[in-house]
Amino acid sequence: MSQPDRDSIVEEIRSAQIVAPPGLRARVRALAETAPAAIAARPPHRLSRRRLALVLVPACVAVAAAAALAIGLTRPESSGSRDAVRGEASPTTLPFAAKAAGAGSSRGGAAIPATSGRAQLYEAELTLRVADLSAATKRALRLTRGFHGYVRSVEYGSGADRGSASLVLRVPVGSVQAAIVEYSAIGRIVDQHVSIQDVQPQVDRRFRQLQAQRDLIARLQAKLASPALSAAERDRLEGRLVAARRRLVVLQKQQAALRRQTSYANVSLDLRTKDKEVVVPSEPGRIGRALHRSGQIVADEAKVLVYVLVVGAPFFVLGALVLGGLRLSRRRSEARLLSTS
């Protein structure tokens, strides 16, 4: 016999006829006949996984966007977000005193008078917008002197575009009401704040302490005048007398300081030239705000998605490795089985 070649082997195998025996054919036919008509192969129009993904992914994106838009339209606006949009130009930032006086008025500062006959700490803060910073500063200083007050500190700065001056003035309490009115006339009131603290009870208490110390000193002096005192007793009484006098001096100084404080009012005057026009972005409308909120929600959704991907990625990779390993193991097992069968 001649040496077989590959083509002849292939031809011979192809020409071979292996036909199922009639018994097997009958078994399979019987099996097919018993198949219920309801069992049908997968309909061809059914979506494949790839097509399903092509439909599902845009659908999910659309649902997320629609949800964000719906929430953005229906969610009530938070005050914080509105303030953030409006910026610092909100009139509510002005204190009540300025509102009472009418913010923006050129005259008529809300000068609350100090109560006469009572010791009170009077503090006033005025912010004024002026046209000529130098002239306004000079005028403020002149007015202070006119009211028999004095200047505690001045900070003056003037640039090409804008300038400001901060003055801390001390004005006699009796004249402070008139002084504030005059100061207010220097420029346009931007902000105003007045604070009055009554310290009369403190003054009265300290007066009683002074009186008590004076009485104590008088009693000690009377005792020391007695010739019947022993040396030790005299030394003790003299020590107490020195301490009482020292205490009296301290109380007198404190009382004097408090009287000085209450006799003059502190007036902080902040003078500013007109700022350059700041372009404040116009507040968006309802649709704009809704879109803004929707955008924020979409951004939040994207953050969640990224978080899920970042957190889930190792598990996905691990799962893929496990599946790949199992598949490889199964294939090797099959190969071994087929090679030995």
């Binding site: 016999m1 001649s2 040496q3 077989p4 070649d5 590959r6 082997i9 292939v10 011979e12 195998i13 192809r14 071979a16 006829q17 292996i18 036909v19 199922a20 025996p21 018994g23 097997l24 054919r25 078994r27 399979v28 036919r29 099996l31 097919a32 006949e33 198949a35 069992i39 049908a40 192969a41 997968r42 309909p43 061809p44 129009h45 059914r46 494949s48 294939r331 099959e334 190969a335 089985l337 087929l338 090679s339 030995t340 069968s341």
Partner: protein, 169 residues
């Protein structure tokens, strides 16, 4: 234009591809009796899984071959377990193969085929006997097309060598 694949009935598929499935299993098992049982089992299994068949992913013949392969693998595993229990390897002996089991081939080719492993015989059955396309054969075997080609080439070479050795002897 969207092409809609035909959905054949199970009865027509079984009638058309019975011989192919049977021949494939004969090649894998080297036994007509075993192949007969496995063919019947394959079609029973196919009927149960018929709702999973998707004509767009491959032909009915390819799908049936995959079911047949799974059935054969289950059979081999069961045989392996049985042989382990009995410590007998009689089925590994080529001499036990029925004569003419591969459909009336020359005795040298029959012996050479019988000496191959089931893995080698199945690739010959799919690619040569059933004349499946390389893509379909690779899908049945669960390997790449390149691996399928390599496996077929090695199997045919081995077949050639064994036949040559047989003739020389």
């Amino acid at each position: 234009m969207h092409v809609v694949a035909e959905v054949p009935s199970f009865a027509s598929v079984a009638e058309r591809h019975l011989d192919d499935v049977h021949a494939y299993l004969v090649y894998m098992t080297r036994s007509r009796e075993v192949a007969e049982d496995l063919t019947a089992e394959t079609f029973e299994k196919a009927l149960r899984q018929w709702h999973r068949f998707d004509p767009r992913r491959g032909s009915a013949r390819t799908w049936l071959c995959r079911v047949a392969r799974t059935t054969a693998l289950d059979h081999f595993r069961a045989e392996q377990r049985r042989r382990r229990r009995e410590h007998a390897y009689v089925l590994d002996q080529v001499g036990e193969v029925d004569d003419g089991v591969f459909g009336g081939l020359s005795p040298e080719l029959e012996r050479a085929l019988a000496s191959l492993s089931a893995g080698e015989r199945e690739v010959i059955a799919l690619r040569v006997l059933l004349d499946l396309e390389i893509e379909s054969a690779a899908r049945v075997l669960g390997i790449s097309q390149t691996a399928c080609t390599t496996r077929l080439s090695r199997a045919l070479k081995k077949l050639e060598e064994r036949m040559s050795a047989d003739v020389a002897a």
